[in-house]
Symmetry: D3
Subunit: 336 residues, 6 copies
């Protein structure tokens, strides 16, 4: 409605240019042994190593949105070494090899992204399939559905407190939803499933389900240190010594007291967080004692499993099996 | 639309009369110690016993839709003995006592239901909250949603085969859904939940989910002997030696072969039945290897747990706990 | 040093009178089948029941410091019924019987304690072998040994907060140290042992050991409802839904923040409380990660086990075994 | 009886020639580090790889009847590459090295077997110590001992159905009896042991024992894909999703129905197959409920263990221990 | 061969008289509710009890070779009380009742066995189906088969040492072979099975198998206190604190040293005893490391299980199931 | 007191010279990547290996008192090869590298220790922080505290028997206290802790505690083969087949009989040894049945854990975590 500004036009041009770049480059997940490639990737980490014969080479882990691949630059030079740095974008030319069933990239040429090439880091970073801001809005819509004013206020306050970090935090260091925005995506899908199941099991108190889902993992933000691309370098000191379940309980206790929430409501929410891993050996010393705590556990595990199944079956030929998947008790999944 | 027939009118009168009868009588689950009662119940089982002092008395288990209570007739007489028989309806007058926290009925007067009293056995039998015929119709509606014609035909054939028994079979001998129509009710709610979750996890193949839900427990009909009131006297010989999972697999294999179903489809459905208990120690020697098999397990366990939670919390005062519930790992549930 | 006051003299007289009373009465733990008794006991609980033949009788549980015995008044009368009430002292005359290896008291005569009889409830209540005030003083002496001023202040504040209740709270509802003052006694002995082991393992930080011991179970006061005689009627709502470990962690977090304790110190103390049960299935989702947390666990379990062993072997003949002790994995202990 | 035919004579000559060949070559299991060798082996699998320095070499797994060894051809050439192919026999000259306790063959020279060299693949393939045809005959002799005509017919029909494959199928992909004819050998020895134990425990029904042994593993033929040398490339789709136990049960059900076997007999045999792994976590959701099912389990496990023990102790010096054996819970076996 | 002596004739007469007595009396295992009986039984234990109404009665446990039944004498009298004593034979007249599925004998008349009635205690005592002396001879025959003179001497010495007790010791306090001569019977059948399996698995060293079987349980004689009727009153002090496995090891060590047995042989035999329960939680801290130790375990468990199965299925109707059997993990066995 | 002898003076000079040597060399545990070193170490083991490119090199494991490091000599020569031998001291010059987080030494120069360099093997060997003779004396002082003369004699006899070996035996092949004198050090600290706890739990019999501690692991001397530097090459044959617990029991039995100790005392001590690992899966088929056996277990586990914690936290920066420690269930320890 009305004319596009110069800025808009430029931005649009940039987007197009980027789309072209991306179009000509192969997704890491789709690389096949024997293929030659010429593409932009992000350096996740690297190391200068030596062969057993004492020759130096550079070992790099490259990522794009689709996945990760290990690469080698066998011809070491000081200039190449200087060029390689963490979280920088490079253009690489090389060949895909296979080593004991694992793909590896032999890099023949590497150069830094030129300033004129408009690809941004965020475009190569693995992230949730929905925009973070959109997900956060969806989650806030569910908060609006909470009828109890105290619970609604508590949830809103905690969301506001972690507002910025929520936009990029993953749901885990490794495994399911360990990408930018993963925590939001995981929570959003659980809210959606929870709402649906509430239509079948009508005796459930939806206030607790919505609040419980949003609060159950929120203290992963305190448990792990993530950069703004959703990459977790490590757990925090408090995360290792206590863990996000305990941290979440304290969060509810303290934030609840600030708004003088009814003690019963606070304790029930804390109990939901405490029991949502269900088994002591997975971190829950108490089993769910309310139906909402019980269902919270299942929403959580279903979303994690569906993530794992969908992810593992990607790119598998119909009628064949995946390799053994450690995360899923070494099952071989079947793609029908 | 048009006139009611005489038959309709009579039926309506009977219904009203029955409603009155029921209105004046206390539900077993609501009986309180100290109360005098005067009501119709169904005799589930009885025994003539002796006190340690050698005096004869009659020990009866009475049920209605809401539950079960043990009763005693301390004054034995030959006439009373003759009057008491299994699955007959009696009117009892007496007093509710409490014995180590368990309620017991001391019967002072007992008589048979008069032919003029129109209460029917089915009205006292615990059963699913939805009419069996209605549930069966709902289930058939889901069959209609199956797109693969072979799978649809297979499911239809098996449903037709067990048509009559499905109308009254419980889902278990004891525990969750162990009442008339329980098998249908359990399956129906799982179909409804499965459909909902399919809206979130869109990569799921709904044909397998609908078929898997309907077939997962259907051979409980072969595993247990139930009378037409949904009361299971015992497991069958084949039920004990093999179990409904194995029986269900054979059913799919054989009925599938009859319609020359594609081998892959048959095997996938058999695998879903095989893996739906998830853990070897609960009867599943294989874990789910397809996402639909995985979700089937969760649909099953969620429906069972929601049944148990709802049931256990019935009649509990808000703000208090239930006793330890053996079925739920001795948890005390909290009623908020 | 100086003259005794009149009050002192009277108090002394009372004490003597009481000693005489106690002298003439048998300790419950020493009652033997066949014996006639005539003694004061405390009514812990009672119930009016009926024999299978319908005759009313009164079923009473009597206690003294040494133990508990079940008693029956077979001849029911309204007056007797009125006389019997919880937590009252009665004088009973009767005979000790044995029923399947369990002792039982047949009461022939029962009457209320006369006002002139000076026996007090506290003298019949099972309690720790050291005076509560003395134990509290000992514990405070250990607080004085804490060198870190923040930790010392934190511990002092929490002790002050629960000052009164500490004087009578037991360490458990059942099992080890489940008597008046049990919590203090358990903590005191752990402090003493901890101090000793610190002399061997010199790299241990005694501040954390002393603080950890005092705080590890202090929130049992919030987990259970105890009367002033150390008898726990039930767990609290928060106790059931969260448990004393979680409650203790929150206590340290909140009280620590109040005095702006260094975050590291607060988290380490919380971790000690979190990990002191050692195994997830016993309530600790994290294992000890500091040597002080590790040793805390062993101080706790050693004190509990020594209590159980000492208690179980009381009154056992040298050269013989106890019955199977459920608490100790059904071991039969040997008395050398 | 009469003269040898020309054919017989030639065959005899061939055999002698082969015996000479074999005589001059070392068994793989007996190779020692430092030894030079010049011998025929079968190529089980191979791969062209690169050293970390980028040099190509050929990695080969060689087998003979006695075992398997990894070999390297460090000097890559196109001709050598062409010569190397799976399941072909080659003559290799080289040296045995040792690498972290594992033997390895450094190949200096390699050539294809000449047509004039009469060694056959089957002569290098690991296989059962008894001829397959002889074992099958022994098994059929046991079928003859079955008195119940229905059970005998059922077993005969199933044996006939898998006749050809039985001659070469192994009993497993890896581990015990994973060689040509292993399935027959395992079954035969179990029949022999079963017969013996039946002489001690006379109440056992030998019909079920003989039939149960023959049927217990027969569907490994459907579970795994084996070539005619008893080498299993993979499990089948149905094998992975259901497993040989479930497949065996269906086999009995269907083949039983074809001959209208008494339902009880069919179900008992199915139960034997279902329960023969004994523990749920090993694939048996039901434990044996008949003495014959119980004994079947022990016949199975004893034969597997005796195989493992005999195999592991081969070549061990008396008075010394084997390495840790993963298959046997990391035991070190002792050779007396 | 030659004339019978007077003594022989008398003995023969006694035997006949006894046979008559036994013929006219019902076996306890065959008693049915409602039946009147008049028979000799052995008093295993008794107690004078009171009804809840305070009336005295005598509670008796009666046994014969076939089993055990609880009986009541409701009419207490001093004379009856005097007549009743442990391990005495009485003649009882009464009626078989059923109480919650358990049979009970209501005794109307009871008298002591007259001296002229020749029934002996041993004739009513449950015992192995083979004469003890005959079993001992069989076992000694197996000792003769041991080729190693040191091992043979060791086994002979230990057998001689426990000669007398072996004739009546049961193999257990409860459970399998817990009757007179049970230890011999259990060992004898294991020897027979071991010999048979040695014919299949020819690499086994039969010396160790025969010696291992004989020694594996022999120190149950030191672990339990049994009277000469094979009734175990209790475990010994050393039995409780160490157990028959440890006791057996020490026995072999010490007796072996006395005859200067080769150290290796002694240690291997000790290892067999140590590992024969196979699992740590059943008392074996080491798993079998020789094939003979491995097979010893299976001989042991097979004989125990066959005993349990045979025993449990006794008297069960073909086509029906037993009740749940605790000893066999609550299985319901099926009688085909 | 008086003049130093010439011998003393020389010895003193040697000591000083050695101290200088040691002063100029880096402790292995303190080596940092990038550092150049020039120091004496002991060769623990070595191997001549080949790079994948076929070049020979020497792989050496070097130790000093502080720890162990892997080293490589890339330039192989026959002379170097001759120089390198196990348990010899060498002077090495080289550079510390890091390889996947593990330190490695690249050796540029290596030579044998000159005879004039007075460093002794024992000065480089990892060993307990207290002199063995001093520790043995401390232990004997505890024996003196045993009041029961029989128990004291037994302990003294066993100590005397293993006198020499005790001076250097480690407490384990790997893990806690696996260094020269480790067995003495472990026992000594347990005695000290036991004495302390006996001051709190006064009902404990200190005779059994002192004797139990000294005897609990003494047969590790029979279970493992250690050289005089406390390096265990392997377990003994009897150690593998029976283990030090069983060996210790036999030791007490036999040595006890020699001095005619009261049977009860011997059995109680054997029970303490048997039960001190507490759990069947760790080698104790019986759980402690006396308070002294119970406490013995805790003394043992506390000393092992304190060793592991102290050791693991050595050199860790305050405020950071260790890597995952396999021995401690993969915990990351925190250094406050």
């Amino acid at each position: 409605m009305g004319q596009a500004s110069i800025g808009d036009i430029l931005k649009e041009k940039e987007k197009e240019q980027m789309r072209n770049l991306v179009a000509t480059q192969k997704k890491i997940i789709e690389l096949k042994a024997g293929e030659k490639i010429d593409a932009f990737y992000l350096i996740k980490s690297f190391d200068v190593k030596k062969t057993t014969a004492g020759k130096q080479y550079i070992d790099i882990n490259l990522v794009d949105k689709s996945g990760e691949i290990n690469a080698k630059i066998w011809e070491y030079s000081k200039e190449t070494d200087n060029l390689v740095s963490e979280s920088s974008i490079v253009k690489v030319r090389g060949e895909v090899l296979e080593w004991n069933g694992t793909k590896q990239l032999k890099i023949n040429k590497i150069r830094a992204k030129l300033p004129t090439e408009t690809l941004k880091i965020s475009e190569l970073i693995p992230s949730a399939p929905v925009e973070s801001s959109e997900m956060l809005q969806t989650i806030k819509m569910y908060v609006e559905k909470i009828e109890d004013v105290q619970i609604k206020l508590l949830v809103n306050n905690i969301l506001d407190k972690y507002n910025t970090k929520l936009l990029y935090y993953p749901a885990a260091k490794k495994n399911h939803h360990s990408y930018m925005g993963g925590l939001l995506y995981h929570s959003m899908r659980m809210l959606q499933s929870g709402e649906k199941l509430g239509q079948i099991y009508k005796f459930l108190n939806m206030d607790y389900i919505f609040a419980g889902v949003i609060l159950h993992d929120v203290c992963k933000i305190l448990e792990m240190d993530s950069d703004e691309y959703g990459v977790v370098s490590d757990y925090t000191m408090e995360g290792k010594l206590l863990g996000h379940i305990i941290q979440g309980i304290k969060e509810i206790e303290i934030e609840g007291e600030k708004i003088s929430i009814d003690r019963e409501k606070s304790v029930i929410l804390q109990h939901m967080v405490l029991s949502h891993h269900y088994e002591p050996e997975f971190g829950s010393p108490k089993k769910p004692m309310t139906p909402e705590a019980e269902i919270l556990h299942f929403l959580d595990v279903i979303d994690a499993r569906m993530f794992d199944f969908e992810h593992a079956l990607q790119g598998v030929e119909p009628g064949s099996f995946t390799d053994k998947i450690w995360l899923l008790d070494n099952r071989n999944l079947y793609k029908q």
